[in-house]
């Protein structure tokens, strides 16, 4: 499991590292991509928990998950990634739409 508030930051930033700290780009490079690769090697699902942060900018989620989709392909990501968001259930659809490129 990858819990953003504990493993990365409870105050996620915006899209690019150049925008400021704790960006979606940084999250993808430092955590999401390596954890996805690890899950793929072990043939496991990767649960990404969005809860317990202060909130999200659309650009943070968009950058992180569209980068994942671009690098590993829609079907591969859809098959292996699950999203948990009890605080804001709408974010689950939002992220899934990003992965599907909508």
């Amino acid at each position: 499991m990858l819990k953003i508030s504990e493993d990365f930051s409870d105050a996620p930033g915006a899209r690019f590292e150049a925008d400021g700290p704790d960006s979606g780009e940084e999250f993808f490079k430092r955590l999401l991509k390596p954890r996805f690769e690890e899950a793929a090697r072990q043939d496991r699902l990767l649960l990404v928990d969005l809860d317990d942060t202060f909130g999200y900018a659309s650009s943070f989620l968009s950058e992180a998950f569209s980068s994942l989709e671009e690098e590993f392909g829609v079907e591969n990501v859809k098959a292996r990634v699950r999203i948990k968001s009890d605080d804001d259930p709408d974010l689950i659809d939002f992220v899934n739409e990003i992965i599907e490129g909508n």
Partner: protein, 298 residues
């Protein structure tokens, strides 16, 4: 000999209540700096000087790209209530007992970050607001998301080739009238309705053929701005990079603005005012060079 330009503030100095007069007041001040003149902000006739006016004034006197390092001075409001409000904003350390005295404005350099998104500032503001409002939960996700989106969108809608030149300004103050907290988020760029992504979108789309710019006939211009607002809120207007994953910031701001947490949510840019809660647009007879958001958190 230094040349000074005195600009008289309107009696109701507020982007919300009196946008045309307030925009004109600050534009004349801005023109003064452009003409290499020191500016005296004459607030003597002001009965109201709200946080939106204060935000613009601070931005003008602090941003050296605008004021060119020229001196800024101020004449206090004669009205005692308004005078106290201006003093409470805390910008001016020197206070004269003489109502007509001109007071030089303190120009302590503002701390400037190298990045446009200050997530840790947003986090701190959320914590302070939840404490002030006695929220049972410490986090206010609507507020945090809106603050990050506003910061992130500043450069998306700035001038091409000048990314990062225009600073953003965020002002937060208790609003005793509604037992809430007033926010003003401001950038003095070109204004969202005349920004590069919007202009590119308008040029590309056949629906906008012959689109009017600022100053066009009001009915046509109002329809034009309403259409832009509708498309911004749906994420149809992408950033200047054309990246399909971008352009999602405005839809999120519009969505979060609907929250009951926000008492009001208004955007002013160029010649348009948008009520984000009611999704209504009204025209201003003027051109505000920048984009300002005003909202009240409860």
């Amino acid at each position: 000999m230094s040349i000074e330009k005195k600009v008289l503030a309107p009696s109701d100095c507020s982007l919300i209540n009196s946008p045309e007069r307030t925009i004109n007041f600050f534009q004349v001040a801005r023109d003064g700096y452009s003409e290499n003149q020191s500016v005296i902000y004459d607030l003597s006739q002001a009965l109201e000087f709200d946080l939106t006016a204060f935000a613009i004034m601070v931005a003008l006197i602090k941003d050296r790209n605008i004021n060119r390092g020229l001196v800024s001075k101020m004449i206090y409001p004669v009205d005692q209530d308004c005078r106290r409000r201006v003093q409470r904003y805390g910008l001016w350390k020197a206070a004269s007992e003489e109502e007509s005295d001109v007071v030089q404005i303190e120009t302590v350099p503002q701390r400037i970050t190298n990045t446009n998104v200050a997530n840790r500032v947003a986090r701190r503001i959320v914590l302070e607001c939840s404490s002030f409002l006695d929220c049972p939960e410490q986090k206010i996700p609507e507020l945090y998301s809106v603050l990050i989106e506003l910061m992130a969108n500043t450069n998306n809608h700035a001038v091409p080739g000048e990314t990062g030149r225009f600073a953003w300004w965020l002002f937060v103050r208790p609003n005793e009238d509604v037992q809430g907290i007033d926010f003003v988020f401001l950038d003095l760029g070109v204004g969202v309705f005349e920004s590069l992504p919007v202009r590119q979108h308008v040029t590309r789309s056949s629906d906008y053929s012959g689109s009017p710019r600022v100053g066009a006939e009001s009915f046509v211009r109002q329809r034009h701005i309403s259409k832009i607002v509708g498309e911004l809120s749906k994420g149809y207007i992408k950033s200047s990079t054309g990246d399909p994953d971008r352009g999602l910031g405005f839809p999120l701001i519009f969505e979060k603005a609907k929250s009951d947490r926000f008492e009001r949510f208004t955007m002013i840019a160029n010649d348009g005012t948008v009520d984000l809660k009611k999704r209504s647009v009204s025209l201003i007879n003027g051109n505000f060079l920048g984009t300002a958001f005003h909202f009240v958190l409860r």
